[in-house]
């Protein structure tokens, strides 16, 4: 007995793991799984596709380009670089009720917010309200770090500097009179951006925090005076600023400007004529960009999105088609032992 034990002293352990005999599930792409699977996936995709397509069809979208490239367009005069505080009126009409809540976007095209150097050109410490970075912004902000007089720029960097500064007022023409549509600018930014990512320095009044700094070069008013109507909507937690700072992934993008949720227009924009009063400040023609405003309402799946529904329908039908092809093939060339 002792000898036996000694003889097998080097014997490897007899466990399922060491002997590679772990119980295992060994799936196989058998016809019984693949073909019904394809049918199921196909049907599910077709179902979702139909739902998406129908939903998307129900969403209303109105796009108005106001860049002013064409001579006859209302904003053409404002494209002159020398005109300051140019205001132009863009008229449009709505045939049927535009179901509320209506969302009001501005859009830019050929605009590269996703350029790498542009994206990093900001100072996160500064934007989170760290006063020491007010005095000495991070070098990532270069060249919008200091102004000519070597005063620190707050908020620094390309992103902040290039903030979109056209403003809009919407009027409904009711019996020839302009009735202002009230626009709601609250909560248009991400919750985390507003509550966590961007903080104002805890200095009251906010203005004092900006002592010794200058506003970004392209800005007409300092950060602490972005919204004169609401003192809480200033500094780095100004909603428009936050929307701008969340940079777009693609060169053609739109950003939420306002919601139309209040008062008479809570149910939507009734049919009729409207005037959009644009305070035209933001130059885009030099690089071939376009500006537009978009009105849209949403469904459970968000805004209008025809691609998704169509893609689902196509993939779903292809799955069903493939399952038929596979069934035919399977019937013709079955597994060899069945011969």
């Amino acid at each position: 007995m002792v000898k036996q034990e000694k003889a097998s002293a080097n014997r490897p352990d007899n466990t399922a793991f060491t002997q590679q005999r772990l119980p295992a599930w060994q799936p196989m792409l058998s016809a019984g799984i693949v073909i019904p699977g394809f049918v199921l996936i196909g049907l599910a995709f077709i179902g979702i596709g139909v739902a998406l397509f129908v939903t998307s069809r129900g969403i209303q979208v109105l796009e108005i380009d106001y860049t002013g490239v064409e001579q006859n367009s209302p904003c053409f005069p404002c494209t002159d670089q020398n005109r300051k505080n140019c205001v132009c009126d863009v008229n449009f009409s709505i045939d049927t009720l535009f179901q509320g809540p209506v969302f009001f976007y501005y859009g830019l095209s050929n605009y590269f917010q996703n350029y790498r150097k542009y994206g990093v050109s900001k100072d996160d410490y500064q934007l989170s309200g760290d006063l020491s970075y007010f005095k000495a912004p991070s070098s990532t902000c270069s060249p919008y770090e200091y102004d000519k007089n070597n005063k620190p720029i707050v908020p620094c960097g390309s992103v902040a500097n290039s903030m979109f500064n056209d403003t809009f007022k919407l009027f409904q023409i009711v019996n020839g009179a302009k009735k202002q549509v009230s626009l709601d600018g609250k909560g248009i930014a991400w919750w985390t951006d507003y509550n966590i990512k961007y903080r104002n320095p805890s200095v009251t009044p906010l203005k004092n925090a900006f002592n010794g700094t200058v506003k970004p070069l392209f800005w007409s008013k300092p950060a602490y005076e972005l919204d004169l109507s609401d003192p809480a909507n200033n500094g780095f937690i100004n909603q428009d600023f936050l929307v701008w700072m969340r940079r777009a992934a693609l060169p053609n993008f739109r950003k939420l400007y306002r919601r139309i949720t209040d008062g008479d227009y809570a149910q939507g924009l009734p049919a009729g004529n409207y005037t959009l009063e644009v305070s035209y400040n933001y130059p885009v023609l030099s690089f071939g960009g376009r500006k537009k405003v978009v009105f849209s309402n949403v469904s459970w799946m968000g805004g209008k999105n025809e691609f998704l529904g169509i893609a689902y329908l196509v993939i779903g039908s292809m799955c069903v088609f493939m399952s038929i092809v596979m069934l035919i093939v399977y019937a013709k060339f079955k597994f060899p032992e069945e011969d």
Binding site: P12, R116, T192, W300, G303, N305, L308, P336
Partner: protein
Amino acid sequence: MTHFVSHVSAEEERRVRANDREYNEKFQYASNCIMTSKYNIITFLPVNLFEQFQEVANTYFLFLLILQLIPQISSLSWFTTIVPLALVLSITAVKDATDDYFRHKSDNQVNNRQSQVLIRGSLQNEKWMNVRVGDIIKLENNQFVAADLLLLSSSEPHGLCYIETAELDGETNMKVRQSVSVTSELGDPNNLASFDGEVVCEPPNNKLDRFCGTLYWRDKKYTLTNQNMLLRGCVLRNTEACYGLVIFAGPDTKLMQNSGRTKFKRTSIDRLMNTLVLWIFGFLVCMGVILAVGNAVWEREVGSLFQSYLPWDPPVDNFLFSAFLSFWSYVIILNTVVPISLYVSVEVIRLGHSYFINWDQQMFCSQCNTAAEARTTTLNEELGQVEYIFSDKTGTLTQNIMSFNKCSINGQTYGEVTDPLGPQPKRLDFTPFNPLADPDFCFYDDTLLESVKVGDLHTHEFFRLLSLCHTVMSEEKSEGELVYKAQSPDEGALVTAARNFGFVFRSRTPGTITTIEMGRPVTYTLLAILDFNNIRKRMSVIVRNPEGKIRLYCKGADTVLLERLHPCNHELMNITSDHLNEYAADGLRTLALAYRDLSEDEWEAWSASHRCADKATDCREDRLAAAYEQIEQDMMLLGATAIEDKLQEGVPETIAVLSLANIKIWVLTGDKQETAVNIGYSCKMLTDDMTEVFIISGHTVQSVRQELRSEHVSVLDDVWIEFALIINGHSLAHALEADMETEFVSTACACKAVICCRVTPLQKAQVVELIKKHKKAVTLAIGDGANDVSMIKSAHIGVGISGQEGIQAVLASDYSFSQFRFLQRLLLVHGRWSYLRMCRFLCYFFYKNFAFTMVHFWFGFFCGFSAQTVYDQYFITLYNIVYTSLPVLAMGIFDQDVPDQRSLEYPKLYEPGQLNLLFNKKEFFICIAQGIYTSVVLFFVPYAVLSDATQSNGVPLADYQTFAVTTATALVIVVSVQITLDTGFWTVINHVFVWGSLGSYFTIMFALHSQTLFRIFPNQFHFVGSAQSTLLQPVVWLTIALATAICIVPVLAFRFLKLDLKPQLSDTVRYTQLVRQKKRKPVGRSGRLGARGGSRRSGYAFAHQEGFGELITSGKNMRLSSLALATFASRHSSSWIDTLRRKKHTHAHTPPKHCKTCKICFPFLSLICCLTYFTSTPHFLFLHHIDVFYYNGLVELHLNARSQCFFLLFASQAFFGLPKAQIMLMYL
């Protein structure tokens, strides 16, 4: 460091003075301390890092790291490279450190062995490492020799001592060493302490069989040869003690000089991988150039206009410079096409496979208590691609154990095992009859024992011959406990047989042999030993029995012995000759036995002529041979013996399985042609079905060429006929010459079996190199002795048999185990799995990285070629090392397509590896094409969906962070689904890793996007809140699902169709295994392999060298103690190979049903029926399948889905117009 110095100043000659350390220290000879380790604690870090950065890949990543530190270029944070790099470096460092730790341990163990050194006249215990050149050390029996020693004196007479050199050269025969006569007289330590001779000899070298030097002592010169040397690594045997002078120590010893650095072996997958990595680098540069050109164009056309919002960096002043920087930036972000984790993952997988080899119980030999060992961890997948096996014979195919199996006495044959199917014959028990019998001896035929007992004269004379005619030495430790020490195992077997049948060889003196014949002690006077040599192929003794009669006993090869018989033996000779043929046909080694009575006069006359020849100074050998020839005439035939050269367990089966797997086996042996051919037959490499067995044994270039040519012609004539080639060493030397090489290779490779006999170790390596060069095939060499080391080292894979012979082969090998039959498991199971896993791993790995990286390329066209990454930098850092590493590792380590028994049952499954089908350039391109396709989908689907999409609260989804999170999530999900498709064997580990990786992705992402981390490092975690706000959106999930479907559905369809249209054998086997759950029939076990026809072959059994004849007669060795011959009881394992062969023909005997599938198809088919009906499309398309479906499905269905079945019945009747009766008939 002393040995270092001695290496540098090339030593021209070595001077050693005994007992004079001061004198010897002048020369700074290496001490006896050996050091195989590479590092110590202080040097480890710098040296190891230096070594690691010699790897191109590591340097490349270091270069990337430096690039990332340049702010203008850095498109990614430095940690994306340093984290994986540090991980890889530290894993490798840990592995190196562990390896070195074990080397330190084994060094220490060897260095701290004790030896007795003569210091200042007294013996003191010293560690081996403290032994110096010039010391005199004492060795005791069974001790390892500590250094290369000059033998000074020994306890045995004449300064003889016996050593076993197995560890050094692999030979198990004991060797005799003798000291120079002047020193042998010194004897005891007191005299030796005053010995002050000086040895002048050659510098250290690695020639094991040569030494030349001179001993100067007391103004006299003595020539020293290898005969006086004891080399490190040998073991002292049968010698009580001896003293030796240390000549070479430590690294200078011949053992260490021979263990040169092993050549670093790479697998073909390695080489392919390196080529592919270079291609990928080329591809990377191309991508970089394309994107840089894009950047130049963009900066010129768009960027320059966009400068008011996005000014160029201060150092950038024009678009060309920007493009230049952009190139490097893209090199950084696209470098993940060749991630650093590739190399470390490959190593981890190989390590895992090596452990599985080490752990395999079925490759554990309980007799020798050794498990298989993967000594090299980097070659596993090549085990799945072997095409040629070069095998040694002795000790590898055979056990080198001889057993007395059959004999023919006076025309009567004994030892035939009656019926292989009948009851196992009982082993004879000799003890009651003969107390001196060897209990390990096996014999089954009791008629022979009966014949001895009844006192048959021929039988008695037969065994008397066996007990007298040999050069075996005996030792009797205690009364009746005899141990024979034979120079060749054959002789031992014969003497042992005689011992058991009542003719016990008990002891000998130079002039006498004492035996116990049937319990009665008899002493014969030994008059002469006519020793064996290779030309004579026989040996004789002349003895005078107690009655005074002189008789010559002779045993030898039948070919030579039968010629020298008296003519009256004619009839007996014919019968015996037939018996010999039978034995030879069974693969046994045969000897014929004869005697001759000599009269006193004849003896006197011959004795005189013999003395005369013996004393001759010129041509002594020839004269002796002539004298022997003279007396070995007119002999009377006694019979013949047949000795089984026991094959290792399962050798014929293994060879058959391996050749079914299309592996060609060549036997390369130093043994004689006859023996090699015999073994060839007994292990079924050669069969009588073979049309022709060519033997090439020409001695000249012309004759070899001619032989080769003629055979080449006949081989080419008919490819369907099986040929075998046997070539001799001297012919091989010619065949390996440059101009004949190709001819030889083409002929040899057309033959089914090739046996090279009488080859030198160097020739073995040459043959391997030849095949490597001409066939571009993966070669494996297997052997057990030191003579196999060269071939083991030169083959792609070297396997050492860790058996009875030394450990040289094992030390040089990449894999070692103790039985040849484990080779089939190593190749067909472990090798095949390793290859499969590695290929699947590589395919998937390249796929996942292309899918991951190429997204950046597409994004480049939309972000001004600014080297903006699509993903978060943490995702880029962790993708390869956390999110996707473990599932693919689990697949690479644990995947199985078919279970191990199936791999052995269907050796054809091995073929894809040999043809390199699973991973080659084509497969690689398919993988990267799939990767690129996936990347296109992963970029453009989110692009198309998200560009206009908004959240349900109206906030647009097209911001960069949402896009990044969506793409990254889709990527992780797609590659996870892909790995689930690729994994064929889902153990619990795979589940944990796959689900764990997915889980870790979400967990880590939520953690990185959490407020907590952001509050601590606001400038590092920009993505705060992105995960939650993105992944809450249904559109995002719809996008991910869409992208996944577009990526996976075509793959799924393609795989299914491929499985249906062009199934691989492994698919079929897997299918059978999984779906049928067919029980494997237990394989019947039967006795010996079937008998073969009797083509005449003959073998004879003697060792290669001359025997100890001269030593015996001179009486020099008469205190020789004995060597225990281990006899392993070994069974002949069953010949299930016949079953296997039958299986090959009746491959498909599985019932032609596929019930499960049909069951699942059932509702679907019903649906199709309805559709067909309603749309009135022609339905004959489905008719075929429906029919099949009936037959296959109905029986299954009626048990569990009766109602459905009825539905189908009616449906079919309605739609296809089948008569109801017929359907009912089918149903019933």
